[in-house]
Symmetry: C2
Subunit: 372 residues, 2 copies
C-alpha cells in the first residue's frame, strides 16, 4: 500500500482514483449473491471497460460477460473472454465485425424484430446465440411483454434462421433508476421477473424453452431473492456512485472510484473552490438536491487510506469543459489551499470512467481501459 503522500504527489491533473479493496468486495458480494440464488452472473463490463478489472472478475469465477457495443465485445474477446452478450439491439451496419466476433467467441445478440433477424441471417457465417429483448416497463427498447403475437413472430423467425440459436428472454429494467425507495426497486424487480415468467410460460405452451436474463444494479443489489431467473447482468455495482447511493443500492463506503482534482482558485466571499475537473472528466450527469438545484458530484478530502466520507453540505454546483465549481462548507473550505487535491464522488461512475480512460488504484497501479 502506498502512503497517501506518495499517491497525492503523483496527481498533477484530474485522476480517477480506484479503491481496489472496495471493487473486490463489490464483485464478491454480487458473485456470492448469484451463487446463493443459483443464477449465472454475467456482469456488464461497460462500467469499467478494463481488461485488468475484468481479470478481477475472472479470479472470482466469472466466465460470461455483457457489453454494450461491438467494439467493446471485440476488446474483451482479445482479452480472452469467450462468452459475450452484446446487450444492445443488433446494429445492421456492423455485420462484418459481428461475423468476426462470432467466429472467435460464443456471441449472444439481442433481437426485437423479425426483419432484423432475417437481414442479419443473410450476413452471418457463424453460430450466434439469440435473445429476445423484452420491454417490461422501461420503454426504451424491446418488445412489450404483453405483445405475445410479436414475441411469437420473432421467436419463429429466430428458429427459422440458419445461424441463430434461440436462448431466451432478456430485459433491462432501467426504470429502477428513477425510483423513490428501495421498496419500489424491489417491486420492479419482482414485477419484471413475473412478467418474463408469463412470457416464458406462453412460449413453453408453444413448445419453446426460454431462459430469463435480467439485470440492473439497483434491482440486483436490493432484491433479497433473485427469483426464478437464469442470469443477472448488473454492471455499475463494481464501482457504484452517487446515483446508486441515492437509490439505496449501496452504502457510501461501497463507492469505489473518486475523481482527484487539483484546486486552482478559492473564493472566500462565496465559499467556492474552483477545481481542475470539468464536464470532460466527470460528465454532465447530475442529481438534484431537495431544493431542486442540480449538482455534479460530492466533495471528499484525501485521507490516509483513500478518501474520507463526503461533506454533506459541499457540492460541485457547476461544470464547464475543464472547470468545476464547488460550493464548500466551512470545514472543507478552510482545510484546503490552492494546489491541494480534493476527491469528487461522481454522480454516474460509468460515464466518468469512460471519459477518464484510465484509473489510478490507491496502491499506485495505473489501470488502463479500452481505447476504441
Amino acid at each position: 500500500m502506498m502512503t497517501n503522500t506518495d499517491l497525492v504527489q503523483q496527481i498533477e491533473k484530474p485522476t480517477l482514483l480506484l479503491d481496489r479493496t472496495r471493487v473486490l468486495a463489490n464483485i464478491h458480494r454480487m458473485v456470492d449473491k448469484a451463487n446463493r440464488g443459483g443464477v449465472r452472473l454475467r456482469p456488464h463490463f461497460k462500467t469499467h471497460q478494463s481488461a485488468i478489472i475484468g481479470e478481477w472478475f475472472r479470479e472470482q469465477g466469472v466466465s460470461a460477460i455483457t457489453v454494450s457495443s461491438v467494439d467493446m465485445a471485440d476488446y474483451f474477446a482479445r482479452h480472452n473472454w469467450q462468452d459475450i452478450t452484446i446487450a444492445f439491439p443488433v446494429n445492421l451496419r456492423q455485420t462484418q465485425a459481428i461475423n468476426n466476433l462470432a467466429r472467435q467467441v460464443r456471441l449472444n445478440l439481442l433481437f426485437e424484430s423479425a426483419g432484423v433477424v432475417a437481414k442479419l441471417d443473410t450476413y452471418l457465417k457463424a453460430k450466434v446465440g439469440a435473445w429476445l429483448k423484452i420491454d417490461t416497463g422501461y420503454q426504451r427498447s424491446g418488445i412489450d411483454w404483453n405483445n405475445l403475437n410479436l414475441i411469437g413472430e420473432v421467436v419463429t423467425a429466430i428458429q427459422g434462421s440458419r445461424w441463430l440459436e434461440f436462448q431466451g428472454l432478456l430485459t433491462h429494467a432501467g426504470h429502477t433508476y428513477t425510483t423513490a425507495s428501495p421498496e419500489e426497486v424491489i417491486n420492479i424487480y419482482q414485477d419484471t421477473e413475473s412478467r418474463l415468467r408469463r412470457v416464458q410460460h406462453y412460449l413453453r405452451g408453444e413448445g419453446v424453452n426460454a431462459a430469463i436474463s435480467v439485470g440492473d444494479t439497483p434491482g440486483c443489489s436490493l432484491a433479497t431473492d433473485l427469483g426464478a431467473v437464469d442470469e443477472i447482468r448488473p454492471g455499475n455495482f463494481v464501482f457504484f456512485d452517487l446515483s446508486q447511493l441515492e437509490i439505496g443500492s449501496c452504502r457510501e463506503r461501497d463507492i469505489a472510484v473518486a475523481l482527484a482534482c487539483p484546486i486552482v482558485a478559492k473564493h472566500p466571499e462565496r465559499k467556492q473552490l474552483v477545481i481542475y475537473g470539468g464536464a470532460v472528466h466527470l460528465s454532465k450527469e447530475s442529481l438534484r438536491d431537495k431544493q431542486g438545484s442540480a449538482y455534479f458530484g460530492r466533495v471528499s478530502l484525501l485521507s490516509e487510506d483513500g478518501w474520507s466520507l463526503f461533506s454533506q453540505a459541499s457540492r460541485v454546483v457547476s461544470l464547464s469543459q475543464e472547470h468545476g465549481l464547488i460550493t464548500a462548507d466551512t470545514e472543507i473550505f478552510d482545510s484546503v489551499a490552492v494546489g491541494d487535491v480534493v476527491a469528487i464522488i461522481p454522480v454516474h461512475s460509468c460515464l466518468t470512467a469512460n471519459l477518464m480512460g484510465r484509473y489510478l488504484s490507491l496502491d499506485g497501479e495505473q489501470i488502463d481501459m479500452a481505447k476504441y
Copy 2:
C-alpha cells in the same frame, strides 16, 4: 466531394460528421469581424482540439490561440503554434509541464491571487505572459472587477516576479450562455467591456498599462461593435450547436457538426426510434423545450450535401450510455428503417467533439483530434 451514398456507406457506428464549408465560413466570419474591429482574434481551440482544423485557422491569418489545459497547450505547441494562452487558473501541480512549454513558445497564463504568482515564480525558468483573470459577473473564477485592492495587489506581485510579464485583464463572460435574448447578450458584452475599461483606467492611474481580452461565442458573434478591446477569444463559433442557436448566436445552417447514428430499432406505437448514439457520444448536455422537458439533440436526415434542416418536432429525449431514444414526427419516423442513419445536431458541440475524438468531413477526410 463524395456523394452522399459513399459517405453513408462508411458509417458503421456513431460518427461525427463535419461540414468543412461551414467551418471555413464560420472561421472567416470571425476573422473578418476581428479585422474590421482592429482586434486580435485568439480563438479558443478547446472546441475542436484538432491540429488539422487549427491549420484552417492559420490559413486565414490566425497565429495566436487559446486553450484550456496544459496538455492541450502541449499538443498545439507540438503542432507549431508559438503563441498560446492557457485560459484556466494556473494549476500549481503542473509546474514542470508549464516550464517545458514556456521554454518552447510564447506562453500566457492566468492569475487571480498573489500567492499563486509567488509560488509559480519559484518554479519558473522561462518568461511567461501574465493576465489577470477578472470576474465581470459570471462568478466562476477571477477577481471581482470591483475589487481594485486585490487587483492592484496581484498586479504588484506580477510586476515583482522574475519571470512574469504583465499583459492585462482577461475575462470570460460565460453568463451570456444563460440569456433569454440576443439583446441581453449584447448588453452583457458591452457591460463586460466597460467594466474592464474601468479597471484598465484605474491601473493606468497607477502607471500600469493593461490590455483587455474578452471572449465568449455569444458575445463575439452578436456584438455589432467589438468595442475598445485588444483581443477576443471565442471558441465554439467554429462549429456552433443547438445551445448557440437557442441563444441566437448562429443560424441553423451555420452548425457545422452532426453526429451520424445508426437506427437500431423502431417503435411505431410510441413513434420512437432507438439509435446507436448515447451519452458517451453526445454527452448529457441538454436543453429544455417550452414544456420543460429535457432533450439532448435534434434530428436531421442525411441529404445529398450533408444533412437537412432538423425536424421541428423530433428530439433525442433520453440517453443511456450507448442508446439514444428519439421521439420522431411522422415524416421522419416513416422515412427511415432499421439500419439507416440519422444525423443528430448536438446541444454542445465542444463536449460531443471531445467524446468522439475524431471527425469525418463530408468530403471523406478522417480528421484526428488530440489524444492526451
